[in-house]
């Protein structure tokens, strides 16, 4: 399946009118990520299309931020649903979902984790610190954005413990 420019514009319009502030679509090799806030640098794979809602609506390739994006607003408080366990950031720093750009993320939604599984990295002054799950279970949601500042104690993932 191919996506035309009109398709992308249509998708953007739908997202704009919706309550969602983050949207990701994967069709085969093609991946579209749309966010209403800051651009979300996912990975440097050339097939990826990252479109910030505020920028030109035409699909462009690889508008991936090299430096960590700055987050001027504090993260919204996350309500932890009944029966779920958050994996919290052990320190303040820049959060990464994958060992390096272009590599698959450590964990994906619906994927299993063990207590000692590495689920992400936090970069503090060029030192990368592994984040462990601390719980056995299934990841149900990724709460933090790749390449963004996360605070100490900020929930990064939701896990349904097994």
């Amino acid at each position: 399946m191919e996506l035309s420019e009109d398709d992308v514009l249509h998708i953007l319009k739908l997202i704009d009118e919706s309550k969602f502030d983050y949207f990701q679509l994967e069709v085969g090799e093609l991946k579209i990520t749309v966010s209403k806030g800051d651009p979300i640098p996912i990975s440097a794979s050339p097939q990826n299309v990252a479109v910030s809602q505020a920028s030109a609506p035409a699909p462009q390739t690889a508008s991936v931020a090299a430096a960590p994006a700055q987050k001027k607003e504090a993260p919204k408080p996350v309500v932890i649903p009944e029966g779920m366990v958050p994996i919290k950031s052990p320190m303040v720093g820049v959060f990464y979902v994958a060992p390096e750009p272009g590599k698959p993320p450590f964990v994906t939604v619906n994927g299993p984790v063990k207590a000692d599984s590495t689920v992400g990295l936090i970069e503090v002054m060029k030192v990368f610190n592994a984040v462990s799950a601390g719980v056995d279970g299934i990841v149900t949601e990724v709460l933090a954005q790749n390449g963004q500042l996360v605070e100490y104690g900020q929930p990064l993932f939701l896990v349904k413990p097994s």
């Binding site: 960590p68 700055q70 987050k71 001027k72 607003e73 504090a74 320190m91 303040v92 720093g93 820049v94 970069e123 503090v124 002054m125 030192v127 963004q148 500042l149 605070e151 100490y152 104690g153 900020q154």
Partner: protein
């Protein structure tokens, strides 16, 4: 050098003070807070707060990496370290420089030079500023004993890496030297990772006098008069005043000039304080150390000069030239600051954390309060006990004392104990009112006060 968004790398009243100064200049702020300070007044007042770690300061406010990550991640182009914590660590100033963050303070080189107290002594001496008769490094107890004999007992053993009243031991006579030397060295090694010791003659009847200086990037250095901070408890200041009312005009002018000369000699920039000890008996003054940061007691200088020192720090950091010349600074009246701590004077001044159920600070002409407290605020056991700085200004010292008396009497704090009842006895004391005090005077009053409650 742009300063448009400042990471406030501190807590308590000084974090609020920095945020206020930033707001007055249209600068945005991000409060770096520990988990215990998420709901602090600074966190509420800043444009945003960022949680940098757990409550213990060694895991949060003392972590250079966490502060740099927080500053970069929140789009800050500057960082204000406040006082205490990392404010006098060259490491933080260096890390800021590496990450293109403007450090609101002196250069790393200024900090390192003055942080080594022995080196600071040498710098003072070479700029012609009198230093307390004493020694260079004493390598061991026998060498110290020889040096002490030349200086004359009693002497103080001081850690070169200390400062701010920490790492000081009194040696009254030769028989105490061996034990005290090894204890002092061990403590300095444990506290500062450096056991270098030096000696100074102990001046028993002394006043603590310090001079506020400001320097900019263009080599302009001015002084903003002096403060008398003689009322101390275990080397921690409790009541501070400006100007130094007990000194003659001539001595005041000489002390201030000495301070400016010293600051100029190291190309000092931003706000700093040069501390002196004044011998009441001989009327001599000697350099003690330099604090390369804003000080707790800076408001008394602000009250008599009309200069907003924290705003000046930000403007200097931004690269602006000092808007004042030495000759057009005028001092007006007298200012007194009382530090209001969470402590229980009736129980040997033990710290008193807890929830403040009622907080009604005084107000009125010439009254200023710098504080992070409010009704419902929980005083955390993790940090120092400073709740507020109560500052008054009057046309003269007598009026300032009268205003302080009324302000303390109308200050209502419930839920926790504070030092206010003790401070009231000091402000009312005839010896205090006529200025017959020295650096040991308050300790005696503390003992008398505590004894009256034990009896």
């Amino acid at each position: 050098m742009s300063v448009t968004r400042v990471l406030v790398a501190n807590r308590g009243e000084i974090a609020v003070r920095i945020i206020n100064a930033c707001q007055s200049l249209g600068i945005e702020t991000v409060a770096a807070v520990s988990e215990a300070d998420r709901d602090s007044l600074a966190a509420q007042k800043a444009n945003r707060a960022v949680c940098i770690g757990p409550p213990r300061s060694s895991d949060s406010y003392l972590k250079v990496g966490a502060l740099i990550a927080a500053a970069r991640g929140t789009g800050c182009d500057a960082l204000h370290p406040g006082y205490g914590f990392l404010s006098e660590r060259a490491e933080l100033a260096e890390a800021c420089a590496q990450h293109n963050i403007v450090f609101v303070g002196p250069s790393a080189d200024n900090i390192a030079k003055m942080g080594d107290k022995l080196q600071a002594r040498r710098i003072a001496q070479s700029s012609g500023v009198p230093i307390v008769p004493g020694s260079d490094r004493a390598k061991n107890a026998p060498e110290a004993a020889v040096l002490a004999k030349q200086i004359g007992y009693p002497i103080l053993l001081k850690a070169s890496a200390g400062g701010g009243g920490r790492g000081i031991k009194l040696v009254s006579n030769p028989s105490e030297m061996e034990t005290t030397f090894s204890t002092a060295a061990a403590e300095a090694r444990a506290a500062f990772g450096d056991d270098t010791l030096y000696m100074e003659r102990y001046i028993g009847n002394a006043r603590h006098i310090e001079v506020q200086v400001l320097g900019d990037h263009f080599g302009n250095v001015i002084h903003l008069g002096e403060r008398d901070c003689s009322l101390q408890r275990r080397h921690q200041k409790i009541i501070e005043e400006a100007p130094a009312y007990a000194l003659t005009q001539d001595v005041r002018a000489k002390i201030c000039e000495a301070a400016a000369t010293l600051a100029r000699s190291i190309g000092y920039r931003n706000a700093g304080t040069i501390e002196f000890i004044y011998d009441n008996d001989s009327s001599e003054f000697f350099f003690l150390e330099m604090n390369t940061r804003i000080q707790v007691e800076h408001p008394v200088t602000e009250m008599i000069t009309g200069v907003d020192l924290v705003a000046q720090q930000l403007l200097i950091a931004r690269g602006q030239a000092l808007p004042y010349k030495q000759t057009n600074l005028r001092l007006h009246g007298h200012a007194i600051e009382c530090r209001i701590n969470a402590e229980s004077p009736q129980h040997g001044f033990r710290p008193c954390p807890g929830r403040i159920s009622n907080w009604q600070p005084p107000s009125g002409d010439g009254v200023r309060l710098d504080s992070h407290c409010y009704t419902g605020y929980v005083v955390s056991p993790y940090y120092d006990s400073l709740l507020a700085k109560l500052i008054v200004h009057g046309d003269n010292r007598a009026q300032a004392i009268d205003r302080m008396k009324v302000a303390l009497a109308t200050f209502q704090v419930e839920g926790i104990d504070t030092g206010i009842p003790f401070l009231q006895t000091i402000i009312d004391n005839p010896d205090y009112r006529c200025g017959k005090i020295n650096t040991r005077w308050l300790e005696k009053k503390l003992d008398e006060y505590s004894a009256s409650y034990v009896a």
